[in-house]
Amino acid sequence: MMLFMLLFSRQGKLRLQKWYMAYPDKVKKKITRELVTTILARKPKMCSFLEWKDCKIVYKRYASLYFCCAIEQNDNELLTLEIIHRYVELLDKYFGSVCELDIIFNFEKAYFILDELLIGGEIQETSKKNVLKAIASQDLLQEDEAVEGTLRDIGLL
């Protein structure tokens, strides 16, 4: 089970945080600080996995963003790397070659996409097509509402 996922920039700014375990806010901040420092200090060719406290950290850098997950001792490290990759692919597909700014300005979308991929720290849907379909149907609802709203505004409804 994944315990949490953090996205942060090369400057150490946290861009997204998702906690699958209930930690007190103080602990969350402490964990984040420690991990950001540890990972930013690591060199490019180093191993993507590290033992940390009683869990394992799996991280990967995509352009200016670090994706960092904590998993339990028995979880599969390589596949966790691929969960990260799948998430990046989904963001990329959705935003159209995603960049850090997309995630900053549309953080809520980044959360919605993540919720379709993982629930309670376990992978829910591994098919890219299906996740995108789910997001698309959310967007469709929103668009309908938007159209409805406009129509109502101009008195057509």
């Binding site: 191993c47 001792q73 596949l79 960049c99 549309n106 953080f107 809520e108 591994t126 098919s127 929103q142």
Partner: protein, 929 residues
């Protein structure tokens, strides 16, 4: 930036831009405070705030929170959004709640109704939103409110696949916080059959759920094994086009495969059915084969997904530990990864091989890669990989390669990262001790450790070398000579001074014949270090000096001079002053005889397990600091072992209880220590403090030592016996940081038994303070011979959790033996006299591996009878005589132990004047050699 679909929120985008444009931290804080004030006033005043505006402001609050600021309002507005009939507003409300609301918040009760409504929605998008929220919060409140709906959603035929997936994982999340919510009975099979679902996404999600359920109740969910094996087999043999979008970079359903492989690891053996087993092995082979095929893509995603499945398959192979073929193949394939260019793969291969090294089937295969692993330890750029290589070297070490591996580790230690030195020192010390055939080598290794990494050599390590030198006569002279040489180095580590001081104080006389290490030279050498050392070391040196007075009376005046100097104010340390003056007085007033008695050589340390291993285990909870080959697995499902194993009974194996196998060479491949190791490891994983060592049988042969030890408590015992009376001191030590309360040891010895052995126990204080030790006195009076021994049940509360251990007391009948010396003639005369049917007992049993005659003699001497020399014509045979004292009578007892070296068997014969005694003594001793 591409335009985003759905409806954007302009106000939010403007605010985010503003924040990004802030030149300083102060400006940012100012902008945020302005916005917070604005939102607050909007929420307070404007009653006409519409849904869109609420959504926008809640979203801004979220953003501010994600920047690291605390948010203490807006929750009610978010809750209101949940009941909006617009999806976009509802969604933001849910997001705010999952990100900001703690599990124990009062708000949770307010949102339950909204969630219920959405769960009943006909639109799956709404249902999923509700499920995701329940899973995100996952509190007990949630579990109680939805324990009916969610299981129904999961198995109902009407539910859409996307909803089933969310429902499965949502249920899993709730199950983790409230295990009682899972319905049993017919639900079990319906949940299991989700493994057959058409939709791969549903199967993937359901497998996670089932894995958790199996861990809780392996028997009930046993039916999942067959389904999982056949599903896995179908995936593995599928071509990558079969599974369409569930193929990931040409690998068919890697996530599901890995989950199924994990699920199967909950059972051991995975299955009893030969057909299923064959299919599983075939599937595992296919996975190994596919991993060898040329890659279908150069992308790292392809290799990662493929190898993720491979590693998980290897985990299952290691877990089953029953297919030598597969184990050896796994080892070979991992061996190839050791020189792969991907650091990640090298790391994982090393890790996996650590486990393979502990299987009797693949241990030898792992050893073939020794050279590469040594290179990894030296050359890897990443310290975590180097550390993993060290772990593997430790795990693959055995008698055959110990010298080489220890040497390589010592070489590497000189340049090793500071972060891993301490652990390496422990590992080297353990290996050197465990595999020493020649103890001079062991002494060299430890002294080298001190020389190379003195700062990282903990007390346990140098205490241990001293214990071993004291217990092994053959190495004492060598040790004295070696420490003497080591001390001559101009700068030597303080730990070296400690070891040197202690050893020369005991055995300096062994090298005093050589003029280069004459008494005065030794003394001056040690004393030249005195002023550079800490008070603790100085105190130790002062004791060495007083011991020198006994060993070398000729340098008495030199030493007294030093004592005199340090017995006054020149020693700022009170302890040093006191020692110096008391030693000085002792050397003046005591006669040579008295000195010789007081300063006698240290007696042998009781054989006890090395504390170093415990230190290593503590350092690495959850990891596998193992250097032990497992025996084949127990048939019970693994998950069962979780159910509180309180005491680790390592009965009937002395050799294994001595973790480092000092007294006897380590037992062979199939030893019974395996089960103990398994429990220890589990104890670590689950954080239960129940990893305990407990060995009563050892106390047949000795009166003092550690009777019981786990993470919380250590119980030591000292006892003495005279005629039919005995006294026992039990020492309870609290190893934790908090007091143990309601502490109460209770004697378990029935009234009927008490008529034969009367045991009285003094009460103890009910609170055992942190780190403290208390003593409890017991007296025992043997009235008549008895069987077995009394037990005490130790009850206490740790952190308010009740704990209970039952420990057998070392009060066996043999404690009341008085050894009897006699010559051969009278021995055999008595032997013949005791020839009656009821006076004889005999047992033939297999010797512990390997047959250890000196060990057996030592045990017999500790047993309480007199070991009679030159009585039996066969020098290998051992004969003993003794009298058991009871209040009512004295029972003479003779013993003969005959080894059969070819058959590796012993024959034990007991003859005694009373039938019950004959039987009990025979029972006590059988299987002990």
């Amino acid at each position: 930036m591409a335009p985003v679909r759905g409806d954007g929120m302009r106000g939010l985008a403007v605010f985010i831009s503003d924040i990004r444009n802030c030149k300083s931290k102060e400006a940012e804080v100012k902008r945020i405070n302005k916005e917070l004030a604005n939102i607050r006033s909007k929420f307070k005043g404007d009653k006409t705030l519409d849904g869109y505006q609420k959504k926008k402001y809640v979203c801004k609050l979220l953003f501010i929170f994600l920047l690291g600021h605390d948010i203490d309002f807006g929750h009610m507005e978010a809750v209101n959004l949940l009941s909006s009939n617009k999806y976009s507003e509802k969604q933001i409300g849910y997001l705010f709640i999952s990100v900001l609301v703690n599990t124990n918040s009062d708000l949770i009760r307010l949102i339950i109704q909204s969630i219920k409504n959405d769960l009943q929605s006909r639109n799956p998008v709404h249902v999923n939103l509700a499920l995701q929220c329940i899973a995100n919060i996952g509190s007990r409140d949630m579990a109680e409110s939805f324990s009916n709906e969610i299981p129904k959603l999961l198995v109902s035929g009407d539910t859409m696949d996307v909803v089933k997936q969310s429902a499965a994982l949502c249920l899993l999340r709730l199950f983790r916080s409230s295990p009682d919510i899972i319905p049993g009975g017919e639900w079990t099979s319906r949940i299991i059959h989700l493994l057959n679902d058409q939709h791969m996404g549903v199967v993937t999600a359901a497998t996670s759920l089932i894995d958790a359920l199996v861990k809780r109740n392996p028997e009930e969910y046993k039916g999942c094994v067959n389904l999982a094996v056949s599903r896995l087999s179908r995936i593995v043999t599928a071509s990558y086009t079969d599974l369409q979008d569930y193929t990931y970079y040409f690998v068919p359903a890697p996530w599901l495969s890995v989950k199924l492989l994990r699920l199967l690891q909950n059972y051991n053996p995975v299955t009893e059915e030969p057909g299923v087993r064959a299919r599983l092995n075939e599937t595992l082979e296919t996975i190994l084969n596919k991993a060898q095929e040329p890659p279908k893509s150069k992308k790292v995603q392809h290799s990662n997904a493929k190898n993720a499945v491979l590693f998980e398959a290897i985990n299952l192979i290691i877990h089953s530990d029953s297919e030598p073929n597969l184990l050896v193949r796994a080892c070979n394939q991992l061996g190839q990864f050791l020189s792969n260019r991907e650091t990640n793969l090298r790391y994982l291969a090393l890790e996996s091989m650590c486990h393979l090294a502990t299987s009797e089937f693949s241990h030898e295969e792992v050893k073939k890669h020794q050279e590469v692993v040594i290179l990894s330890m030296k050359m890897e750029k990443d310290v975590s990989v180097r550390q993993m290589a060290v772990d593997l070297l430790y795990a693959m070490c055995d008698r055959g390669n110990a010298e080489e591996i220890v040497q390589e580790m010592l070489n590497y230690l000189e340049t090793a990262d500071y972060s891993i030195r301490e652990e390496m020192v422990l590992k080297v010390a353990i290996l050197a001790e465990k595999y020493a055939t020649d103890y001079t080598w062991y002494v060299d290794v430890i002294l080298n450790l001190i020389r190379i990494a003195g700062d990282y050599v903990s007390e346990e390590v140098w205490y241990r070398v001293i214990q071993i030198v004291i217990n092994r006569e053959e190495v004492q002279g060598y040790a004295a000579k070696t420490v003497f040489e080591a001390l001559q180095a101009p700068a030597c580590h303080e730990n070296m001074v400690k070891v040197g001081g202690y050893i020369l104080g005991e055995f300096g006389n062994l090298i005093a014949g050589d003029s280069r290490s004459a008494p005065l030279v030794q003394f001056k050498l040690l004393h030249s270090k005195y002023h550079l050392c800490s008070p603790m070391t100085r105190a130790l040196l002062l004791s060495t000096y007083i011991k020198f007075i006994n060993l070398f009376p000729e340098i008495r005046t030199n030493i007294q001079e030093v004592f005199r100097q340090h017995s006054n104010l020149r020693s700022a340390d009170a302890e040093l002053q006191q020692r110096a003056s008391e030693y000085l007085q002792l050397s003046i007033v005591a006669s040579t005889d008295v000195l010789a008695t007081v300063l006698e050589e240290m007696p042998s340390f009781p054989e006890r397990e090395s504390s170093i291993l415990a230190v290593l285990k503590k350092k690495k909870p959850g990891r596998v600091p193992e250097n032990e080959i497992r025996e084949s697995k127990s048939p019970a499902p693994n998950a069962l072992a979780q159910n509180n194993v309180i005491v680790n009974h390592k009965v009937n194996s002395n050799a294994n209880a001595d973790l480092l196998g000092l007294s006897t060479p380590p037992a062979g491949v199939n030893n019974t220590g395996g089960s103990g190791t398994l429990i220890d490891v589990l104890g670590d994983i689950y954080g239960n403090n129940n990893a305990a060592t407990y060995n009563t049988k050892k106390f047949l042969f000795k009166n003092n030592g550690v009777l019981f030890e786990n993470e919380m408590l250590q119980i030591g015992v000292k006892s003495e016996f005279r005629q039919n009376l005995g006294r026992l001191g039990l020492f309870y030590g609290n190893k934790t940081q908090i007091p143990l309360t309601n502490f109460m040891p209770v004697l378990q010895w029935s009234a009927e038994e008490a008529l034969k052995l009367n045991v009285q126990m003094k009460p103890v204080d009910p609170t055992l303070e942190a780190g403290a030790q208390i003593q409890q006195l017991l007296t025992a009076e043997c009235i008549e011979d008895y069987a077995d021994a009394p037990t005490i049940e130790v009850n206490f509360r740790y952190n308010n959790v009740p704990q209970k251990f039952s420990i057998k007391l070392p009060l066996t009948l043999n404690k009341f033996f008085e050894p009897t010396e006699m010559n051969g003639e009278s021995f055999f005369a008595r032997w013949k006299n005791l020839g009656g049917e009821q006076q004889r007992a005999q047992k033939v049993f297999k010797a512990q591996q390997p047959l250890d005659l000196p060990g057996a003699r030592n045990k017999l001497m500790g047993f309480g009878m007199q070991l009679l020399e030159n009585v039996d014509p066969n020098p290998d045979n051992m004969v003993c005589a003794g009298i058991i004292h009871t209040q009512t009578q004295q029972v003479g007892c003779l013993l003969r132990l005959e080894p059969n070296k070819q058959a590796q068997m012993f024959r034990l014969t007991i003859r005694a004047s009373k039938e019950t005694v004959t039987r009990e003594v025979c029972d006590l001793l059988s299987d002990q050699f």
